[in-house]
């Protein structure tokens, strides 16, 4: 049996204000597309940030590809796309190709240099996402949707096995958001990339994700959408109407 991509056991994280994650135990298998949903302050972003070492773990354990998060060094196997709202400085003078090229640094050793084949890889990635025509444009001059595609290209250029997306569509209009989710779903199916998507949009991810993790500091639900739709506990929690909307879109 293949080892899980992500495993957490009784994971707890705390900030100064108190505990934001309590006893989170989940296992994510290769090829899963997990939508992480929950109200504001429920610990969704903290969970993914703890996995990649941006937030310290106060209790319990977490591992990626069977390596404890604190010792994990295989950054080339992970693609990460954080919240879009405050990501790009509008006057930053980098071209799209230069930004996407940064995604390849995780595979390089000191002194990190990009070679001709790396530049070719950047072009291929841009082409696969249909944004090759933007390669010479400055990142700050693009629309929010275009910037998100570029940053997704940056996350995908090193052909990751695990793609972590932390509210990537927060600044996008509904139409662009829907296209973005569909694109992630296509990447998950065609390339077998495991996806962890943090979002508020539980209805929309019902269409694309294969599993749902509902957090409110603790795990309230983790399983497939079929299980979610049949769960009476979830009916009590969300109300039958909301549960129906999520399940209907799935």
């Amino acid at each position: 049996m293949p080892s899980p991509v992500v495993r957490t056991e009784k994971l707890c994280c705390s900030y100064r204000v108190g505990r934001v994650l309590e006893d989170v135990s989940i296992t994510i298998e290769a090829g899963d597309y997990v939508g992480i949903v929950g109200p504001n302050g429920s610990g969704k972003s903290t969970l993914v940030q703890a996995l990649i070492g941006l937030v310290p773990i106060s209790e319990g354990s977490a591992s990626i590809f069977d390596v404890p998060c604190g010792r994990f060094a295989g950054w080339g196997r992970i693609g990460y796309l954080p919240q879009s709202l405050h990501l790009v400085n509008p006057v930053f003078p980098a071209t799209v190709a230069e930004v996407v090229g940064l995604g390849l640094l995780s595979q390089k050793r000191f002194p990190r240099k990009l070679k001709r084949q790396d530049r070719q890889k950047v072009l291929e990635t841009l082409e696969s996402l249909g944004i090759c025509d933007l390669r010479e444009k400055l990142i700050g001059e693009l629309s929010g949707g275009q910037q998100q595609r570029v940053l997704l290209a940056r996350a995908l250029v090193n052909e990751p096995e695990l793609l972590i997306l932390d509210e990537p569509t927060a600044a996008l209009d509904p139409e662009t958001r829907e296209r973005f989710y569909a694109l992630i779903g296509e990447i998950n199916r065609s390339r077998g990339v495991t996806v962890l998507l943090v979002t508020h949009d539980s209805g929309a991810i019902g269409q694309h994700a294969t599993k749902m993790l509902y957090l409110d500091k603790r795990v309230l639900f983790y399983g497939s959408f079929e299980e979610f739709c049949c769960s009476k506990d979830m009916s009590e929690m969300f109300g039958t109407h909301s549960q129906h909307i999520i399940c209907h879109r799935h």
Partner: protein, 279 residues
Amino acid sequence: MNLNLLEILSYGFIQRALLAGTLIAVLCSVLGVFLVLRRMSLIGDGLAHVTFGSTAIALALKLYSAASLLVSLPIVLLASLGILKLTEKARLSGDAAIGIVSSLGISAGIILASVGGGYNVDLLSYLFGNILSISSEEVAIAIGLFCVVMVLLALYFQDLFAITFNEELAKVSGIRTNTINAVLVLLTALSVVLAMKLVGIMLISSLLILPAASALQLARSFKGCVAMAAIQGCCSVVSGIFISFYTNLPTSATVMMVNFAFFGSAYLIRRFLISGNNN
């Protein structure tokens, strides 16, 4: 003054000023791009004030000219790391940390100048710089430090680019962001100590900020931005030295006015030519 260009270039002090000035300008301009984009522009100002304090210590120890660098360099390098540590550990923003270290440096300088009394004039000459009085030893030190900083910049260029674009993303690419931040402030500290002679403590931050700010108006790529800033830095120092020689104006202030003219031109070009074409 009726001297022609070749006659001016035959003077040893002009040759030394041009050589050291262009090297220092390249360093400050290139580092300035990273500092401006990371909103750390005023670190140059803070470290310059520490340089003032350290120069007061050097003068108190009767160390002048190139020898004063032996005192200034380690103190300013430590101060630059102090700013980083204050930011990381003391729950302070970068500008507050720079303000604390900066005022500490300038206060130390004032107290030492007041106690020492007799070397006030020497110390004040560091406030406004005088590149035309740079010695051969100082030029040799400038060449050595220029080589060190440029080699380190070349080795860490992609890492610096990555943390400048987004520190969180850089961390998840396996880049040790704390180390790279330390490299950036240490390189800045080295350049500030060198630039003290060129433009003086009062104007160092403009040599870090203005070429980068001009390049940001026009650049169409990150590498292009770094190259444009370096070229502007060189041109401003060379033309500033010649203009000040012909007009008998202070060199440091003239270099800064030339830099400002470049910035104004870059802004106008972007505002009326580039933006106009895009509309």
